[in-house]
């Protein structure tokens, strides 16, 4: 009988051949991705993957998956329900029985099978006593769970595309962050996303470095939340605020300055974030509104001064020294090293740096799609375990006038199962 066009399309889209074709397309695509990801900047491939041919491939994959599952689910459920007790006169599905020599112990086998999560059915057929052991009756569901997990993955991606919002902001120790959009360094939001309500005070940033190396062994931000509760965020462990994960992912320095005239009257003071001051030894420029000077500042948290040379021993704030060069136009008016609080004199003015604070760079991500992704991963792993490690195995022991015949059936691993059964019977 000739198949209708719809049926032909349906069968083609849900065919195994198409599944394999998509596997090969996917491999080719990833291989190209691998080559490009080693030679182009990281963001480049993210745009490449949204090109039309690849979107067609993703679509084809999910259509194939859904049709295969629609076809497969009733079959799998049928198999799960199928507990057909075998009859000694019809053992076609078992093939030939296994031969055990005289040394085997049927009791040992029965005991071992009972302890190995087998369901036992005991019945009699035509005077023969039959013991039927079965395990993994529902194993086909594992297959379905594994494949449906990809739909959860898709749901996670789509939810992310619609609702994900992320951004970054920086705060100086002791200051608060009130979450208004103007305070963010950047915000990237999806069409339906809403900015989370993030509000806290940054009590302190506590970095730890390993000896003299640029290697963080700890980076913690201690926070006081709006309701007065305390919390901490690490680079590798986020704090959850209004559904968003907030991590401290970098630090820098913010420097307090105090500008006075020759009578000691304070003219200007403030704390400014200096993004180029980190890592130690690098110079950043400070300008004070209303003054023509440029202050080139360098910071050495653990300084060692040797004559006119300065070096930095570690990243930890043990012996901080500030390197300062002051220019009026191109004319240098001060060059020297200052401890925190020490004053530098230039053009009848005095500048001091009472404190160098840390500036915390924070990142937040709010993506409800992650929940679907984690569910998908749990489904994937449990589906695989269910399908393969608890696959269907059957043992049929028929006793006829004191003589035992044993028949086995196992998905995937019949020889290994036979070997296991022989071990259970004490023969190996």
């Amino acid at each position: 009988m000739k198949k209708s066009f719809t049926k032909t399309v349906w069968d083609s889209l849900g065919s195994r051949d198409l599944s394999v074709f998509i596997f090969i397309m996917g491999l080719t695509y990833l291989f190209v991705g691998y080559i490009f990801s080693t030679i182009v900047p990281p963001g480049w491939f993210d745009s490449f993957q949204s090109l039309l041919p690849l979107l067609v491939m993703y679509t084809l994959f999910f259509i194939n998956l859904v049709i295969c599952e629609i076809k497969w689910i009733p079959v799998a459920i049928g198999r799960c329900r199928q507990l057909e007790l075998p009859r000694p006169d019809n053992l076609k599905r078992f093939g030939k029985g296994i031969g055990l020599d005289e040394s085997y112990s049927i009791n040992s086998l029965k005991q071992s099978l009972s302890k190995s999560f087998f369901r036992i059915k005991e019945y009699e057929v035509e005077g023969k006593s039959v013991l039927f052991y079965i395990r993994g009756l529902t194993a086909p569901l594992g297959n379905i769970i594994f494949h449906i997990s990809f739909l959860f993955l898709l749901a996670g991606i789509l939810v992310g595309l619609l609702y994900r919002v992320e951004g970054s902001f920086s705060i100086i120790e002791g200051r608060g962050f009130d979450g208004t959009p103007g305070f963010y360094n950047d915000i990237k939001g999806s069409p339906l996303s809403e900015l989370p309500y993030i509000k806290f005070t940054l009590d302190s940033i506590i970095p730890e470095f390993w000896e003299g190396e640029l290697l963080f062994t700890d980076l913690r931000a201690d926070l006081t939340m709006e309701d007065g509760s305390k919390g901490s965020s690490w680079l590798s462990e986020a704090i959850g605020i209004d559904g968003a994960s907030v991590t401290v992912n970098g630090i820098g320095y913010a420097i307090s300055y105090n500008l006075k005239d020759r009578e000691g009257k304070e003219l200007k003071s403030g704390t400014v974030s200096m993004p180029n001051l980190f890592a130690p030894g690098m110079e950043d420029t400070l300008t004070i509104p209303g003054y023509p000077h440029r202050f080139l500042v360098a910071y050495y948290p653990d300084a060692k001064i040797n004559g006119s040379n300065i070096s930095n021993l570690s990243m930890n704030r043990k012996n901080p020294v500030i390197g300062l060069r002051v220019y009026r136009g191109r004319l240098p008016v001060f060059t020297g090293l200052l401890r925190e609080g020490e004053e530098a004199e230039f053009d009848n003015h005095y500048i001091s740096f009472p404190e160098v604070k840390y500036r915390g760079d924070f990142k937040f991500v709010k993506d409800s799609g992650f929940y679907f992704i984690w569910i998908a991963f749990v489904m994937m792993i449990s589906g695989l375990v269910w399908r393969f490690l608890f696959c269907r195995k059957e043992v049929l022991i028929i006793e006829d006038k004191g003589e035992y015949s044993i028949y086995l059936k196992s998905e995937y691993f019949p020889l290994l199962f036979e070997k296991r059964i022989r071990e259970m019977a004490g023969q190996l």
Binding site: L30, Y34, G212, T217, S236, P280
Partner: protein, 271 residues
């Protein structure tokens, strides 16, 4: 020389002894039941000494990765042989791998370096453990595939191997186990990546290559179940999948500029 390296030296000697003894059928059992477990124990002792000294499991950095690989591979092989004695011929090959891999590790920096903050998480530890378990299982599948191909090609040095049908089942069994741990590794890595970078997937070359191997192993499972691909055909695919894993592993070492799976970082900020 400190106790960590003395233990490693002893492990290396024991692996060497296991190789020599395993190739002779008469002494294979000695290698299997005494020398290899002893090698693994002193190797583990070395890892524990290092773990205590640096405060994290020694699975980070190229040197530590070689320590972990050369411990997990023979361990999984030994456990496999304990369950399936017919494949005891994989022992000398895994011992040889362990020995060569240890030697390879010594070409990298062996200094005891604390772990960087970005890798200080139980999720990274679990991710690394799942990876080594996956590669241990897949390595057995890979070795058996090579042996199967050699056997069907008429190699005479592989006497004592089980039937091709049983080898085929074992290849599939360890492939499936490896695939499960591979998936677990992927899940744990994704979870940690979402914490660290806010993304569960990035087009990092290492991630991409491991995804390629994951798809190859998935393809092998499908080819077997859909079209009954077995024996040599499956063995060839397993070898291809494992080669992508080897390339992925060496990507960690040799293309560090392109990946955030950074193993060895330049730490010195002053002379």
């Amino acid at each position: 020389m400190n106790s960590e390296f003395i233990c490693l030296l002893m492990a290396g000697i024991a692996y060497w002894g296991a190789i020599i003894l395993s190739f002779r059928e008469a002494s294979r059992r000695i290698a299997l039941y005494f020398i290899m477990p002893a090698a693994l124990i002193v190797h583990l002792a070395s890892a524990i000494i290092r773990w205590v000294a640096i405060g994290h499991p020694p699975v980070f950095g190229t040197y530590e990765a070689t320590l972990a690989a050369s411990w997990f591979m023979p361990l999984t092989a030994l456990l496999a042989v304990k369950r399936h004695r017919q494949i005891e011929l994989i022992i000398p090959w895994t011992a040889l791998f362990a020995l060569l891999h240890l030697a390879y590790g010594f070409t990298f920096n062996t200094a005891r370096i604390p772990i960087t903050i970005s890798e200080q998480s139980i999720w990274v530890d679990l991710h690394a453990m799942a990876a080594w378990l996956a590669y241990g299982e897949l390595f057995i599948s890979f070795l058996l595939s090579l042996m199967l191909l050699m056997k069907t090609g008429g190699a005479t040095i592989l006497k004592g191997l089980p039937s091709e049908e049983l080898m085929d089942e074992l290849i599939f069994k360890y492939l499936v186990l490896g695939f499960i741990f591979h998936t677990l590794m992927f899940a744990l890595g994704s979870y940690y990546s979402s914490t660290l970078f806010g993304k569960w997937w990035t087009w990092d070359p290492v991630d991409t290559l491991f995804m390629i191997s994951w798809i190859i192993f998935g393809l092998i499972v499908h080819m077997r179940l859909f079209y009954g691909w077995k024996n040599e055909r499956m063995a060839k695919l397993v070898i291809i999948g494992m080669i992508t894993i080897f390339i992925g592993y060496w990507s960690l070492v040799y293309i560090p500029w392109a990946t955030y799976h950074i193993f060895d970082i330049g730490l010195k900020m002053h002379g």
